[in-house]
Point group: C2
Chain length 309, copies 2
């Protein structure tokens, strides 16, 4: 089951870190970008090749110390079919290196369409004569639950059939998540708590040996108090916690996301790992060309900080 | 401005119909599928070629009588980069034929990532040396507002800059939309009404000469009473109304979505148009090979029904 693979890796590496791969061009060292600009011209192909090379070296740098990566689909979609090919190759490369891959797509739709999204990322696409074939074949997908169970059900079915996972948005890391998510409903719960209770229900039939469900929840590192309260509220639900590092969340902020064994949550950092070589902390120690070494050092620092909370 | 282009076309054609292009393989006539199976083998390329050929003939059949098409991204994503190429070509072909194209992606994320989605569909992708280039270049995109304004803002900025539109999910057509969207909040509003009020606010700075905003709302045809109430509540907001036809909504159900001039809403039908040739109504009159003529006949029927409510 997905969640047992994930929690097993977190335990073995003593590290709940997920490296977010949200590759903006400006994050990528000039040497890589110039090379591809000369090879392919100033186009989507060059941008996508730069992204892929950047990603692969980042993956190489940390694949023995972190359990998972989380490529953010928007940054690949932005370069059209070339970009999606870089996404595809990133997923393949990450899985080859033993990493679990969580596609961050926040997909959502009504049942029949949600089934198509599920086939794209978790299950298998339909071909002629009832044949099927995996498409991106990631380990898990992030999902938006605004439409209710209809859109979630086909994904849960694929999670069971193909040993995959989903993470449903509960309380997102951005400031304006309060606008809808923090509204109080008649019975006193907040909207994000209503969503939390729905996720508990949706995940109840796919709980692994580790005690957590392959249906997880996204809860931002920028809301430490809510993380703690939701940990109590959702004992079987594993949290994917974005917003660590560049978005402002620190190790103390995410402490409440974990159970007493240090499990039950994974913490995503994107910019702080990808762009470690640009940070005040590392820019004097490493050159642009050593961006991968800087990323590894930062990942080790992050692991140590998370181990000590 | 997007909304003026859209309302202008609806007025000129006296037709608010949007053809949804959600192409499942089983919808496509065997003659097309067999040809591509022989040409390319049983793979994503063959499926994507079949989808593209099907779409083009459907577009040819109705481009003089309907204002817009709405390809549903999930069905293209399912065939990987080949599928996305079929999406790209469908968009191009539709726009060549004078149709407005609404990409149904229900995208959503925090601000920086939402900007990347916006660049993918509404704006332009960043290349080297601050150059930019349009990617899919559709006219409008559907969006999920669960994250609040942070994720919507970059899209609105691109709507202004590139004369595009978005439609934010308010009350979706599926049965389980009640689970979250119909919860009452403390002040008595339903969650979908909270979202409706947010959309009113978000759309207030981008209102066209027609009186409607380029920020629209998705409200399902399956909720006639809510359509009527939301029409009152959101006087400047144009509705994209899915769920007509195969999902159960009829012309009377969507009547409340329109203003007294018959504007302010567009009504999407997918399966009932794409698969008209398979319906009881048309299957005796048209062969599989005449699927496009059946689609046109059904589109004319739908237009006439919508004109008479």
């Amino acid at each position: 089951m997905f969640i047992d693979r994930l929690m097993g890796k977190v335990k073995k590496l003593e590290n709940p870190t997920v490296m977010g791969l949200d590759p903006k061009l400006e994050y990528i060292p000039l040497s890589i970008r110039k090379k591809n600009l000369e090879l392919y011209g100033n186009n989507f192909k060059a941008a996508s090749e730069s992204i892929l090379e950047f990603n692969k070296r980042l993956i190489d740098a940390v694949s023995d110390i972190i359990p998972a990566i989380k490529p953010q689909l928007a940054y690949y979609e932005m370069y059209g079919t070339e970009g999606l090919r870089a996404f595809e190759e990133t997923v393949k490369y990450g899985r080859q290196k033993g990493l679990l891959v969580i596609a961050d797509g926040k997909r959502n739709d009504i049942g029949s369409t949600s089934e198509a999204y599920s086939r794209s990322y978790l299950g298998e696409a339909l071909l002629e004569d009832s044949e099927t074939k995996a498409v991106y074949d990631v380990d898990a997908l992030t999902v938006n639950g605004y439409l209710g169970i209809d859109g979630i059900k086909p994904m849960i079915e694929d999670c069971i059939k193909f040993r995959k996972g989903i993470f449903v948005l509960v309380k997102t890391s951005n400031p304006s998540s309060v606008q809808l998510q923090d509204m109080a409903v008649e019975d006193g719960r907040k909207v994000y708590e209503v969503m939390a209770d729905l996720v508990m229900d949706w995940g109840s039939n796919i709980i692994g040996e580790c005690g957590y469900s392959s249906v997880g929840a996204v809860v931002g590192a920028t809301w430490p108090q809510q993380l703690k309260e939701l940990r109590e509220r959702m004992p079987n639900i594993c949290f994917l916690v974005p917003g660590y590092g560049a978005q402002g969340g620190g190790a103390e902020d995410v402490a409440g996301a974990f159970d007493k064994n240090g499990l039950g949550a994974i913490v995503n950092a994107s910019r702080s790992l990808m762009c470690a070589y640009k940070s005040k902390k590392w820019e004097d120690k490493f050159s642009e060309e050593e961006f991968d070494i800087a990323c590894r050092e930062e990942a080790i620092d992050m692991r140590n900080k998370l181990q000590n909370v």
